[in-house]
């Protein structure tokens, strides 16, 4: 997280830590973690933790480790031989079914899913929260959870970012309605290692309750704008997948 500040896991109790490679996810059910497809496409047995602010080895011992049972990537996600060449992050969403239910408490709880009404289409300027243990301005990895507030912006803003990397041709990247653009203020942004984490917004008409509007997906350059998978567009898929995989597999 660029431009963020240290956060207590109790402020982001839905935050899931993916150990290696470092990434994030959002706890949406006792048995389900929502994350980005690109986080798990090459890692079908991720090591995950919840309930801890710091992710060093000692703290992880006291955290609640989550054991994946099944990784389900969105069927429309495009698999590539070399993910590093990816320019199309459309449908960057995946679900992970856990073997055992997660026990909730002050450091572990769920993030709400968006409803289907238009109230869950974030308005421009609406401030959301992001969190993660990804790269900061100073460090590639941090031990302590970071959090930040970022506004929702038009997708166009993400498309118009002037990147410093000359090899990056933003025009060759795919921008769709399945993406939310957010950030752009004083360098506050998500970055590598935050992928899969939740961009949460207040539930309409409820100031103290949040829902996951987006998942950290990609961005032109950390510290500018970030692109988040628009979760609302995948509600039906999420619901159907959870229902169809509600019983443990017989593997």
């Amino acid at each position: 997280i660029f431009g963020g500040s240290p956060a207590d896991i109790k402020s982001f109790p839905w935050q899931v830590y993916f150990a290696s490679p470092r990434a994030g996810g959002a706890l949406i059910d006792e048995y389900w973690v929502l994350t980005a497809a690109h986080v798990v496409e090459k890692n079908r047995n991720p090591e995950m933790y919840v309930g801890t602010t710091s992710v060093n080895r000692d703290n992880r011992k006291n955290a609640q480790m989550l054991t994946p049972e099944r990784v389900i990537i969105h069927p429309d996600w495009t698999f590539l031989n070399d993910p590093d060449t990816r320019s199309n992050f459309n449908h960057d969403i995946a679900l992970i079914r856990l073997k055992d239910p997660v026990k909730m408490g002050p450091t572990v709880s769920l993030i709400c899913l968006p409803g289907k009404s238009s109230a869950y289409d974030p308005s421009m300027g609406t401030v959301g929260l992001i969190s993660g243990w990804g790269r900061t301005e100073k460090r590639d990895h941090v031990v302590r959870l970071q959090g930040a507030k970022i506004p929702i912006t038009p997708l166009q803003k993400c498309q118009e970012v002037k990147v410093t990397n000359p090899k990056l041709d933003l025009k060759s990247y795919v921008f769709t309605d399945n993406m939310i653009c957010a950030g752009g203020e004083k360098g506050v942004d998500s970055c590598g290692g935050d992928s899969g984490g939740a961009l949460v917004l207040p539930v309409p008409n409820e100031n103290t309750k949040f829902y996951v509007a987006g998942l950290v997906s990609w961005g032109p350059e950390c510290g500018t704008y970030g692109i988040y998978t628009r979760v609302k567009n995948y509600i039906d898929w999420i619901t159907k997948t959870m229902q169809e995989n509600s019983t443990p597999s017989l593997d």
Binding site: A7, P13, P106, S109, L110, I111, L129, K186
Partner: protein
């Protein structure tokens, strides 16, 4: 040895008897005979009441006669001047003379012979109850048709015992009814019905005429009913003195009719029936009986259904209803079964929540579930309260028997993120 005849002569006969003489002759003839004692000569000093000289004849301790004076025969063809006849086979003849006999008295000559006595007529008490047959030296008794001679060889009776009545209704009368019943009889009847029925005897007043009680109030002829542990009677008199219906509470009844030698009346007639033994109409809590009746009797079957919320608990299972039968002993079968409040047992625990242990777990009790707040909440808001239902389950108005679900709260961090951004 008893003799058939004999002679008795006064002392010194035919000479004058001495003064102050006393002589006794004990005469005995064989059993079955009487004695005819007759004097052919009698010449004894005459005195008032024969106080001075006399011949005394005693039989059975009773003075048959005391003679004195001079006698002559009134019948020229018979030498007998004085005679006695007794029915006993023994007499005693006592001659006495006092001290002063100025004249010469020659005493007496007497003869005795054994004579047949008619036992059937010679005594005030007839020796036989029915027919008496005299023969020389004895007698024998005999009986009319259908009578038999008892072991005493004197009394006749009727063989009227041994009948056992097993039908559920019947009629029994005294022998020969309505003609006079036999004397000297003991008639025993028995009514024996199937277990579960009691004998009820009905005797109408006009159907009863038995020799009345004696002066001391004791029945000389009597009718008695004997049940298992109860006796009714003895009854006698003209008109039945007991109740019209006698409920014996027994399936077996002995009827004994005893008569003496005299006073035969027309007898009695009774009807009987077997009533099924009743079972008490009991109150059993928390249940209803079907069918509902004023009275239940042997073999009646009732279905006893527990009210809602009650059941009969048995070792391996529980029943909502059971059957009970009125038995032959007047008791209900399955009387130990009772309808007790259904017990739902402890309510099942739930994940991520708890149930408040109820004060009781019987029908009507309430158990309350709550979730581990604030991290979980009840999926159905109104689904926390369960009551113990009649079927033994904890039931919720919304979910029925399904347990409530505590689902995680979403989107509410316990600590708001403040951040340092402005």
């Amino acid at each position: 040895e008893p003799t058939m005849y004999g002679e008795i002569l006064s002392p010194n006969y035919p000479q004058a008897y001495p003064n102050e003489a006393e002589k006794t002759w004990d005469i005995e003839v064989p059993e079955g005979y009487g004695i005819h004692l007759y004097f052919t000569h009698l010449d004894i000093e005459l005195s008032e009441n024969c106080d001075y000289d006399s011949v005394q004849i005693i039989s059975g301790g009773v003075e048959e006669g005391k003679v004195c004076g001079k006698r002559t025969s009134k019948n020229p063809n018979s030498p007998i001047v004085e005679e006695f006849q007794v029915s006993s086979n023994q007499i005693q003849v006592i001659f006495k003379s006092d001290f002063s006999n100025e004249e010469r008295f020659t005493g007496f000559a007497a003869y005795y012979v054994a004579v047949d006595i008619n036992e059937c007529t010679d005594f005030s008490d007839a020796p036989c109850s029915h027919f008496c047959n005299n023969f020389i030296g004895g007698y024998f008794c005999s009986c009319p048709p259908e009578y038999f001679l008892h072991d005493d060889m004197k009394n006749c009776g009727v063989n009227c015992s041994g009948n056992v009545f097993t039908e559920l209704i019947g009629e029994i009368t005294s022998p020969n009814y309505p003609n006079p019943y036999p004397e000297n009889s003991r008639c025993e009847y028995q009514i024996l019905l199937e277990q579960g029925f009691q004998v009820v005897v009905t005797v109408r007043r006009e159907d009863f005429d038995v020799e009345p009680a004696d002066s001391e109030g004791n029945c000389v002829d009597s009718l008695v009913f004997v049940a298992r542990d109860q006796q009714f009677g003895p009854y006698c008199g003209n008109g039945f003195p007991g109740p019209l219906n006698i409920e014996t509470n027994s399936n077996a009844l002995d009827i004994i009719f005893q008569t003496d030698q005299t006073g035969q009346q027309k007898g009695w007639k009774l009807r009987y029936r077997g009533d099924p033994i009743p079972c008490a109409k009991e109150f059993t809590a928390n249940s209803v009986w079907e069918p509902q009746k004023e009275k239940y009797v042997f073999k009646d079957v009732v279905m006893i259904t527990c009210l809602e919320g009650f059941e009969v608990v048995q070792e391996s299972d529980s029943l909502r209803y059971f059957y009970s039968t009125c038995q032959s002993n007047g008791k209900w079968s399955n009387s130990k079964l009772k309808c007790e409040p259904v017990n739902c047992g402890s309510p099942d625990p739930i994940q991520n929540g708890k149930v408040e242990e109820p004060e009781d777990t019987i029908f009507g009790s309430v158990a309350r579930y709550t979730c581990d707040e604030p991290y979980y909440y009840m999926q159905n808001e109104e689904s926390g309260e369960y009551h113990c239902a009649g079927n033994g389950s904890w039931v919720n108005d919304v979910l029925g028997t399904e347990l409530p679900q505590c689902v995680p709260v979403c989107g509410v961090p316990s600590v708001p993120f403040v951040g340092t951004q402005r």
